[in-house]
């Protein structure tokens, strides 16, 4: 009973944050709603017993990736979205379409999913056991993702760097 109440509480905060992300017109409000969604998801992970994943969700996703989003919104001085013809058409077709789509998905999942039940704290994920898996069975993906992050860092630095002073000199020749 307590599990159901806590699940519905966190789930309501998740859905409210997701809908708020869609409704808000200024990107900074959308970013902060997404942070709220991630916090509520961390609560859901704790309900399922995944304590390490929940903590990492808060540290990495809500505490680093979303800070990056907030930085970019602050740097580029993003303003309120304008309503153009394209956005009105998208709203007209998009919202009913997705409401129908999400109701369909939820109905299929709720009625035809079998009878699995999950207890509170069903699969405790202590850091020790996750580390065992990560460094024995999943060692190759782990190393590959570290190379991926290195490539991403190099790409981001190159893409976001200001164009150098060499080009105007070439044009003058």
């Amino acid at each position: 009973m307590l599990h159901l109440i806590l699940f519905l509480a966190f789930g309501a905060v998740c859905v409210a944050g997701a809908v708020n992300l869609l409704v808000q017109r200024h990107p900074i409000n959308s970013a902060l709603s997404l942070v709220v969604v991630m916090g509520a998801l961390a609560g859901e992970y704790l309900l399922l017993g995944a304590e390490f994943v929940g903590a990492v969700q808060v540290i990495v996703y809500a505490g680093a990736i979303m800070v990056l989003f907030v930085f970019v919104i602050m740097l580029l001085n993003a303003g309120v979205e304008e309503r153009t013809k394209g956005s009105r058409v998208a709203l007209l077709f998009g919202i009913p379409g997705m409401v129908i789509g999400s109701v369909l998905i939820a109905w299929v999942l709720l009625t035809r999913s079998g009878s699995g039940e999950v207890a509170i704290g069903a699969l405790p994920g202590p850091p020790k056991e996750i580390a065992q898996l990560l460094f024995h069975q999943f060692l190759l993906p782990f190393e590959v993702t570290s190379v991926l992050v290195l490539i991403a860092i190099m790409g981001a630095v190159v893409l976001a760097a200001k164009p150098g002073p060499a080009q105007p000199e070439k044009k003058e020749e």
Binding site: V15, P27, E44, G94, S113, G116, E129, I130, F138, A156
Partner: protein, 100 residues
């Protein structure tokens, strides 16, 4: 005891909200945030199934999704900054010419 389908339905709703945001929003950064919302919905699905099948690999896979999301965010935001420098706008409807 919460049925597994409730977790999956919540994950599906989050994913659907992400797709909706991707389709109806016109600001490039908000579109990118909807992608992150989709990834979060999928993460919830992974953890719920890991708890259901008592397989810790589901939780490990969430790490990989998070790392890939972080890398994609870094590169994507750098691209957004580069696009903003040339086009001076963040509205996708106005970024529709190959050459200015």
């Amino acid at each position: 005891m919460v049925p597994l389908s409730y977790y999956l339905a919540l994950s599906g709703i989050l994913f659907a909200c992400g797709v909706t945001g991707f389709l109806i929003k016109r600001n490039i950064i908000t579109i990118f945030m909807s992608i992150e919302l989709m990834l979060n919905g999928v993460n919830l699905s992974f953890v719920a199934f890991a708890a259901h099948w008592h397989a810790l690999s589901g939780q490990v896979f969430v790490f990989f999704v998070m790392v890939v999301a972080a890398a994609e965010t870094a590169v994507g935001l750098a691209i957004i900054i580069a696009v903003y420098r040339t086009r001076e706008t963040l509205n996708v409807d106005q970024i529709n010419l190959l050459k200015l």
